[in-house]
């Protein structure tokens, strides 16, 4: 029975398609042609409006925006590149200046050092000379003192021995004979007194 109905409906399908579909409200609504024309009409209308507005108004704007952004970014990149180059050049210049000034500073330092060393040397020389002179003078003085010392001592010895003799003996002795004796003694024991 079920089979019969199915077959019957299948056959009548070909003749009364519209009626069958309308009756089959439990089936697929997609196959119900009642609103096909309406759907086609509204599809054409909405899609047509969508297409026209998108293609005439909106998409050109988006494309222009994208182009503009692209070109602007390109420009910015180029400008950045230029600035980088100039900054590099400036950096090089700066490095050169620093190098130059370093060399200058070194030179100044060297010059100053040399000058100071020269100064010190010349002053040292002068001082050395002065010291040498002083030493020489002192030596000469010492020498003269040394040389004059025995004569004075001899004189003192002669005078004191004459005085001593006078007090002891009460007689005056000739100075010349005393000095001859002192000379003799000095000759004998001079080494012991003066350390020659």
């Amino acid at each position: 029975m079920f089979k019969k109905i199915f077959l019957y409906s299948l056959i009548t399908n070909f003749f009364f398609t519209k009626k069958i579909f309308a009756a089959e409200s439990g089936g697929m609504p997609q196959l119900d042609p009642e609103f096909w024309i309406s759907q086609i009409f509204w599809l054409v209308l909405t899609f047509g409006v969508l297409y026209i507005v998108l293609s005439k108004l909106i998409l050109p704007k988006i494309s222009a925006n994208l182009e503009l952004r692209k070109s602007q970014i390109q420009e910015n990149i180029e400008a950045a590149e230029k600035q980088r180059e100039s900054s590099e050049a400036k950096l090089k210049e700066f490095d050169g200046i620093i190098l130059k000034s370093k060399i200058e500073a070194k030179n100044i330092f060297k010059d100053a050092r040399e000058k100071v060393i020269k100064n010190i040397n010349s002053k040292k020389e002068i001082l050395d000379k002065q010291i040498d002179d002083e030493i020489k003078k002192a030596e000469i003085e010492i020498d003269t003192l040394k040389q004059s010392a025995p004569e004075k001592i001899n004189k003192i010895a002669v005078v004191t021995s004459a005085e001593i003799l006078k007090k002891l003996i009460g007689a005056e002795v000739n100075n010349s004979s005393i000095s001859a004796i002192v000379d003799d003694l000095v000759k004998k024991n001079g080494d012991r007194y003066y350390g020659h």
Binding site: G26, G27, M28, P29, Q30, L31, D32, E34, F35, W36, I37, S38, Q39, I40, F41, W42, L43, V44, T46, F47, V49, L50, Y51, V53, L54, S55, L57, I58, L59, K61, I62, S63, A64, N65, L66, L68, R69, Q72, I73
Partner: protein, 239 residues
């Protein structure tokens, strides 16, 4: 199947013998188109070097579709960019609006997808004949095929060419309808199994929602890319 039912909204409008009343299908076509227009209008209004979110969205979709076209159909397809862009966006938005509960999925109706596919088919064929004249018929005669096989191959090529609008429309329609039907089936399982056993179909339903959103995008993409491929055949005769 109530979710696929078309019903009249407002009065019946008749032009001659044709019923062109405003229906829920028309409503969602209008909503999708308006949504696209609003989003892309907002996205193209201001041009800042650092785009805001909506501008980024518009520009990303623009470059996405433009890359898709240039990859599949080459630079010759540039004049058809706005059509393919509108087509992709229309199908995508119709699919996506269908994913919201209690809405109507425009693309789950064979007549809608078939009209789109038929328009593409006719348009591509016309473009092919304008660009190549009768040389466009060489499309059916692939080079490097033995003479004996040629009649068979030509017949197969013609059949495959003529079945393009059908395959294109049925692919989208069947995908959308199957997805929504499956979700409905799992939903009814949740109700019938109740609080005890309904958790499993519910989790399936959640997973299916994700999958269906993917399918909604993918089918719009496939629809657009197949249009590009057909257009490529018409513009650059490779055979």
């Amino acid at each position: 199947m109530t979710q696929f039912e078309v019903y009249r909204i407002g009065p019946e409008i008749k032009v001659g013998a044709f019923d062109i009343s405003f229906t829920n299908a028309s409503l969602f076509m209008v909503i999708s188109s308006l949504a696209i227009l609003i989003i892309f209008n907002l996205g193209s209004k201001k041009n800042s070097i650092l785009p805001n979110k909506i501008q980024l969205l518009a520009e990303l979709s623009y470059s996405f579709v433009s890359k898709m076209i240039s990859d599949t159909a080459g630079s010759k397809a540039k004049p058809y960019f706005s059509f393919i862009f509108s087509l992709f966006m229309f199908v995508l938005f119709c699919n996506m609006f269908g994913m919201i509960p209690y809405t109507f999925t425009v693309t789950s109706h064979i007549i809608v997808t078939f009209i789109l596919a038929a328009f593409i088919f006719i348009g591509v064929t016309v473009v092919g004949f304008i660009k190549h004249g009768f040389g466009y018929l060489k499309l059916f005669v692939p080079s490097g095929v033995p003479i004996i096989l040629l009649p068979l191959i030509v017949v197969i090529e013609i059949i495959s060419y003529l079945s393009r609008p059908i395959s294109l429309s049925v692919r989208l329609f069947a995908n959308m309808m199957a997805g929504h039907t499956m979700m409905k089936v799992f939903g009814s399982f949740v109700v019938s199994l109740g609080i005890v056993g309904g958790w499993l179909p519910l989790s399936f339903s959640v997973a299916l929602t994700g999958l269906e959103i993917l399918v909604a995008f993918l089918q719009a993409y496939v629809f657009a890319i197949l249009t590009c491929i057909y257009l490529n055949d018409a513009l650059n005769l490779h055979h």
